[in-house]
Structures are given as C-alpha cells and as structure tokens.
Symmetry: C2
Subunit: 431 residues, 2 copies
C-alpha cells in the first residue's frame, strides 16, 4: 500500500486556506486515522505573489492547471475555486489522468455532476462532493453509509440557508419578504440575484442529488416539483401559527412501492416537529429509514470553515478507498428505473386560505366542492374578511391527493361566492 | 487482502436477529461498500432448538463460546447477548485470540470499557460500541471522524430515553413524575428498578464515554457531577415555561483552556433551542466544534432495529480497518492529563425558586445576598406564595460560577425572611 498520498489543491480562497489549516493543525490525528501521510504537493492559484493567511512553500504554488493534472504523483485533486465550464474541463482532464476528485462546487455538480460521475466510473476514480450539499452536515456520507444497511423511505430537508433565514425573520420579527430579503442581501446572506435561492431551484438541485443517492435512481432537476417562497405573506405565517404550524421551505423526497416523489415547496410543519426549530441560515435533513426510524442531521449550511471540514472528511474517505482498493465505487450506479409518482399518487394534507362572501350558503357551497373530491377537514378557521361583506376562511384538510386538491382549487375558483383563493400549501410532518 | 471476513455472533435475540436480517437483506450493497464478503460463521445461543424469525443453517448455531473464540477463521465477534462478568470473560478471551469486538452492551462498557480497550490495544484489535451510547445515532463515529479535523469545544446531550420520555409527558400533559414513571414502567419504557435512569447515572456513563473521545482524556464516572430528575415538580416546569424555557435532563461536556467539565443535571433550555424539541424517548447530541460550529445528531436512543443498524455500521468500520491494516487504532489514546474544572471555574446561568415572607425589606435582603456574590439577574418573577403572608420568587441569574451560586444558596438558607429554597437548576443554551 502507498505510504503517502499526494494532493493537488485548486483554489486558495477562504475554503482552500481552511483546508490547508486543518491539514496542518491535525496532521497527527489524520495520519493516525488513515495509516498514511498526506502531502499537498501543488496548489493552483490566480496570482503567485500575494499576502496569505497561511505559510506554504513557494514551490508549491502554480498558476498552471497542468502542473496538477499531469503530475503523476498526485492522487487526489481538491477543487475549491468555483467556476463552471473551465473548471469542468480541468476536472475532466484530472479524471482522465486517474486522479480522484473532491469538490465543494454545487453549481458545477448541478450542471456536470452526472457527466463527471460517468467519467470517474470509467477511470475507476472517486468523486466526492459532500460540501456542495449542506456545508457542515455529513449528510451524503450518512446516507451512503446508512444505505448499505437500511432503506430510506422519506427525507425532508431544509437545504437552503438563504430562504430559511428569510422565513425565520418573517416569522420571528413579523417582517415582510421584501424587507428581509433586502437585509439578507446587505448582510451577504443572499446573493444580489437571489432568484435561484428564493425560487427554490438551489434546494431542488440538492434534493435531486439526495434522492439519487437514497433511491438509486437517475433523478434530474426536471423531475423535482418546485415552488419558492416569494409569495408567502405575513398573514400566511400568522394563520399557520394560529393553527399550530410553522412555514418552512421543505424539500421532500419519498418512495412508496417503487415510485418516487421529489419536491421543494413552502410547507407547514407542526410547531413541535424537529425541523421546526431549524432557524436562520442553518440546514437540516430529516431521514426516515426502514430499520433505524427517524434521524435528523443539523448544522451550518455554508461558511468557509464548515465547508473546509466537509472537504477534509471527503479527502479522508477518498484516501481510505485508495488504500482499500475500492475507489470508483463512490458513485452509486442507478439500480432502478426512474419511476415518478403522478399527482394522483402524491398524498398530503393541505392548508387552504380563501376569501368568500359572508352570507348564508357560502359554507355549504365550499364544503360541497371538497366533498365532491372526497376531501375532509381537520381544522377550519373563519374570520372577518378584507371587506364588510366577506369572510376569510382557512382550512387544513385530511390526507388527499395533489390531484384532488388541484381539482378542488379549480372548482373553488369558479364558485361565485369565492372572491379569491389567497394561498394553499402542503402540510407535512404529522402522523 | 482477505477476500472474506468471518464473524461470530454472540446472542440471537431481537438485536442479533436484526443484525442477521440486515446482513442478509443488504448483502450486495455491503460487499460493494467493503470490497469483500462477510460470513456469519458461528452464532452463540442458549438453546439450539427454538422457533426463530430468520433462517440460519443448523451447523452455524452453537451453545459453546469456545466454538467462536477459538475458531481461527473468525475475525470479528459481535456481542449482543447482554450480561456483564461472564460476557467480559468471553470478550477478553476473544481479544486474546486477536478477534475484533463489536458490542451494544452499555453496562459492560461502563464497568469493563477501559480494561477491554487496553487489552484490545495490546492485541492490535478494534473494539467498537456505537450502539451502546445512543441507539440509532452515529454519534461516536461522527465524533471520532470529525475529531480528526476539528476540535470539540462543547457537547450537550439528551442521552437517556427514559428520563426524556418522563419529562416530555410531565411538560406536555401536566402530569407528575410518579404518575408518568408508573406509566413508563407499564409500557416497558422504564425498568422496574428505574434508579440508574432517573438518577442520571445511565446518562453520566454515556457522557463520560463521549467526553473521553472528544477531549482525549481519561474521564471516569466519578468525574461526572450527576443530578437526576426525581425532584422536578410540575411547578418547576410551569415556571420555566413562563420564562421561556423547557426542562430537560442534559449531559454537558465542555473544555476551556485545557480544563474539562462533565455533568448530567436537569437544565433549562430556551424553548427555541434545537434540543428543546427532542421529545419522548428520542436522543440527540448537540456538538460545538471549533471549525464546523454547531451541529446536532438526532435519532432513536434504543430499539432493536436501530441498535442492529448501529452494530452493522460498526461491523463495516471494523472490516475496513482490517483491510486497511489500521485495526487497533479505534481506541483514542488519552493524550492529555485529565484536568477537571473546580466549582469556581464552572460558569453558567441559574434558575432559582424560593418562598419568602411577603413583607417590606424581603427583596432587599435577597438581592443583598446575590450582590455579595456578584450575581446579577436576567429575569425575576414574583407571585403569591403558599400562605397568605408569603411570596414565591423565581429568578434567572446572569452568568456566574457554580461556587458563587452555592454560596448564595447557603446564605439564603440562613436568611430569616426565606422560608425555603424550592429548587435551583442550571440554565444553558443561550448566548
């Protein structure tokens, strides 16, 4: 077995610097855990001459990717420099030169993940990307390790820190979406173009990755039903609270009888659900496994040191695999044909909020619509509406299919007594 | 490298049966993850002839421990039969025959853990016991893996399911300790002799194990300050709630400037702390690492399938280590001399509840006592007491030392206006 493993590091920003610090400060422990030494042989940077937070030998730095990719002694490439197309080219070449890959680059993995996986597989290489899903939470490893001896039935995740921060502030400080978003942008918690975060796309990419691993099916971004948080109002949050719920942007991936549902949408959870207290920019993934039952992993979704910690954990896994001779097995080959549930097969409870005429017969007209779709109610709340002659009605249904709910909403829209459907959301996490 | 690893299983109760089921149902995935096959070669049972839930070849069963311990082909012994002294003898012999050990036996580990570790080390063997700490939560592995690249500063754990179940019911259903304990015993959630659970001893054993790993010091049960939940009243819970807290039995292990504090005691946590929603028999461990920040692991604390899942995860780790040639490293040698904080070095906030004369000057007398110890207050609540002439006073202090708090309590006890100190508890989990 090799007594020393050599690493090429691409990028020496805050995450890259964090990786070097961890490797320097924990040299002894890492050697002890791996049974061999690690050496960072080359570091790819933009500029050679620059004040840096750490000490590295000048000979280690280079601006030339080929110095890493073509170095025969380098076993593993760590990519923490960002970028998509040119970074892909570098990693593709590295895999062709039989180097294992560790990346924290979620944008790259979203676009080129499956392609990189295939090239890695062909070259008997590992590709690890724990840091790209939920910063400091070892969720990919927990899933793949756990998977070897359990079957995942359902996952619910808060996997986007920006939207969770916004919803937390809207809930705890009674502020509007626009107001909190602006603050989050000023604080650097939200990007200047927040569309991918607040529209749910970023979370959807991560849920697709998680569902791929958990269900061993090829699941693409297009397979995920996505809704964002832009239309959630302060009133929605207040009504949810009165009924005992909190509003979160929840990614769901579940499997029943071989069929899968993957979605990201604003969801009402009971106030005492373990995910309800995941606040601010924190992430958490709740997993229901056939054997182990309910587990949850909670931690920071981003940040340079949490990300660096995840990168080093991936690195240690890659080194173990090299030494075990099982590299190239990290990609869980899709074993099953992708089978997605249709809307009649997706079951959930729903929160429906609408404004209707406050007159005799209104309630009967409403309940007729739901009865026609076989939908019954767990909770109903009626309050004065925006005008003197209207009432606001908030209902939580028992379990029904998404199709039946959509049918009901269509019928409600055509009822004369209904002024408008204000909002409707999934309700999950209850027995 | 060995192409097949042979296992001897001691015990075929619900956990042992669970282990066999997992190994049978996940054969392919396990082989894929390990790069080799696993075979259960011998199973130690009490009675050979017995109706069982699983199929095993008759030749595999034996009632003779030596058939496992002295079998040269067996690499790993899994112990899920329980018992202490005779089980220790079996495992000691197994280690002397160079067999790696996996056990789910927390009573055994509490009594013989350090002895077994030393014998394992001498024989270059691994000993894993994940299932003995918090059933289905991979906390020991997360700590040892994470430790290789981070430094743990503080852990807070709900690591005893029985007490958490009792406190949850007392809080949510406004019932008394005695009442809920009796129910828990009838349901099988509490032992007929519940002393070790409700007195905090079981949790203290687990916190000692966790602190050992996290701080790389020899920490024994005697080093843990322990208080149980038997004296918590319904009123304590209600007052805590009015001030925004929940009462939990929390194990704390923290390190500051090389000195360690390990305790198990009823603790008030803010209602929005991640541990506050860990309900019923669930366990969770909250970890603060220097690099990664806050993480939390949540899951079932017991149960035969969660326990079996943990045993199989340990098994896979042991197999990887055999194949990597790093067996015998699982024991983290205590690197540091054990240094415990004294009471003047332990800092926390406290909740203090007392009954005093309702007369002019009472409040001043009380505040004088605290001012003498340099203690100031964050919250104060005064209500009518049990008699006409008395008042009940509840206070939450700012940070103070345990020594100062004890001094204040002593002084309060000698004040004439104070009828009695009703209760005082640690307050944690706030900024």
């Amino acid at each position: 077995m090799k007594g020393k493993i050599s690493i090429g590091l691409c990028g020496l920003g805050t995450v890259g610097t964090g990786v070097i610090k961890i490797l320097q400060n924990h040299q002894e422990e890492i050697k002890y855990k791996l049974g061999c030494e690690l050496e960072v042989k080359k570091i790819l940077v933009h500029t050679l001459e620059k004040a840096r937070d750490i000490e590295v030998n000048a000979g280690v730095l280079t601006t030339e990717p080929d110095d890493l990719v073509r170095d025969q002694e380098i076993d593993i490439i760590i990519e923490v420099m960002g970028g998509i197309d040119s970074t892909y080219e570098l990693l593709e070449k590295a895999l062709q030169h039989k180097k294992h890959i560790i990346t924290a680059n979620k944008d790259l993995m979203a676009v080129y993940g499956q392609k990189l996986h295939k090239i890695a597989k062909t070259n008997d290489c590992d590709i690890f990307y724990e840091a790209s899903v939920a910063g400091g939470i070892p969720i990919l490893r927990s899933l793949t390790d756990g998977l070897a001896s359990d079957r995942i039935q359902k996952m619910m995740g808060i996997v986007n820190g920006t939207t969770n921060y916004i919803l937390t502030k809207m809930t705890d400080e009674q502020r509007t979406f626009t107001d909190v978003l602006q603050e989050a942008q000023e604080l650097g918690y939200a990007e200047s173009d927040p569309a991918a975060d607040v529209g749910g796309l970023d979370a959807a990419r991560k849920m697709a990755l998680l569902a791929n691993l958990a269900f061993k099916m090829d699941i693409h971004l297009e397979d995920v039903a996505v809704a964002g948080i832009t239309s959630i109002s302060q009133e929605d949050i207040v009504f949810a609270k009165r009924l005992g719920y909190v509003v979160k942007l929840i990614g769901i991936a579940s499997m029943e009888e071989g069929k899968v549902e993957v979605s990201v949408e604003p969801t009402l959870l009971p106030q005492d659900h373990p995910l309800a207290l995941v606040k601010n920019e924190y992430n958490a993934v709740y997993v229901h496994g056939e054997a182990v039952g309910e587990t949850m992993f909670y931690g920071p979704g981003a940040g340079s040191m949490p990300t660096a910690t995840s990168v080093v954990s991936d690195l240690m896994e890659a080194v173990k695999n090299i030494r075990l001779g099982i590299s190239g097995n990290s990609y869980i080959t899709p074993q099953f044909k992708t089978k997605l549930k249709n809307d009649s097969e997706k079951h959930s409870r729903y929160f429906v909020r609408l404004e209707a005429d406050d007159q005799a017969g209104t309630f009967q007209a409403l309940t007729n619509v739901f009865t026609d779709q076989n939908i019954s109610f767990a909770k109903i709340l009626q309050l004065p509406g925006s005008a003197d002659s209207t009432a606001e009605i908030v209902m939580v249904t028992h379990h029904t299919s998404k199709q039946q709910l959509t049918n009901s909403v269509d019928s409600l829209n055509s009822l004369e007594v209904v002024k408008r459907i204000i909002s409707y959301y999934r309700v999950d996490g209850e027995e």
